[in-house]
């Protein structure tokens, strides 16, 4: 049996969420098979009180449901409500 490796992801930050980290992104290691919900849980642990309960997570450039499983190589971003125009 091969030991399951953790899932390394980099979460891009936009708008007001840029203030959550220095470099406009956060590198995280999640358990293999982690979902969007797991990612958000981890973000809440790292930045308590600085995120809404259910922020929008964008996976592969589309807003993702919370039960979506993350995979290595996914483009992942955390975005506030959009405010263009």
């Amino acid at each position: 049996m091969i030991a399951e490796a953790g899932l390394k992801v980099e979460v891009q930050l936009f708008g007001r969420y840029r203030e959550l980290a220095e470099g406009a992104s956060i590198a995280l290691e999640l358990p293999a098979g982690a979902t969007v919900a797991d990612l958000v849980g981890e973000l809440h642990r790292r930045s308590p009180g600085r995120l809404p309960a259910r922020p929008v997570v964008v996976v592969e450039r589309r807003p993702a449901a919370y039960d979506v499983a993350l995979e290595a190589g996914h483009e992942i971003a955390l975005i506030p409500p959009v405010a263009g125009g």
């Binding site: 936009f14 708008g15 007001r16 309960a53 450039r61 506030p80 959009v82 405010a83 125009g85």
Partner: protein, 158 residues
């Protein structure tokens, strides 16, 4: 961020622009069957919610914006009989009066042009991943859109 403009059918254009936007330039050379050209510009206002605004900053997620722009263009063309659709949204720092978003729609007739222009601006405002930070006369600034993070988080993150 550089201007990210893709030309498509009928001279369609969508994209982010780090440079000032000219709606007049965007409206040039529409197809000759276009009896109606409607444009919309959203400009930086000098006041918002009673506060004096000095400038605006737009952050954007360019890769997702490409995808969203392509979606909006596809849906607009599927639902509206138009001859050209062009949309640019600014990024970076804008002074009061500058154009934040410009839309040009050409169509055979006026109702089609108005309806499509309205459809596009509503879609852009609802979907395009850009975020606005206003700067005020007193030197303070704040991100707009949605509730302040801290307020949401107090009830949600526990």
């Amino acid at each position: 961020m550089t201007a990210d403009v893709a030309a498509g059918s009928g001279g369609d254009v969508v994209g982010l622009s780090a440079e000032p936007i000219s709606v007049a330039a965007l409206a040039e050379r529409v197809p000759p069957g276009s009896g109606a050209v409607a444009t919309f510009e959203g400009r930086v206002r000098d006041t918002n919610e009673g506060r004096k605004v000095t400038r605006l900053h737009y952050d954007a997620y360019p890769a997702m914006a490409d995808r969203v722009f392509a979606d909006i263009l596809r849906r607009t063309r599927r639902t509206h009989p138009v001859t050209a659709v062009r949309v640019l949204h600014r990024t970076g720092t804008l002074e009061v009066g500058e154009t934040a978003v410009a839309i040009v729609v050409a169509a055979g007739h006026r109702d089609e042009a108005f309806a499509a222009a309205s459809f596009v601006i509503e879609a852009v405002k609802a979907e395009l991943p850009v975020w606005k930070r206003e700067e005020y006369e007193d030197g303070s600034s704040r991100w707009l859109g949605g509730e302040p993070v801290e307020d949401d988080a107090r009830e949600g993150a526990g």
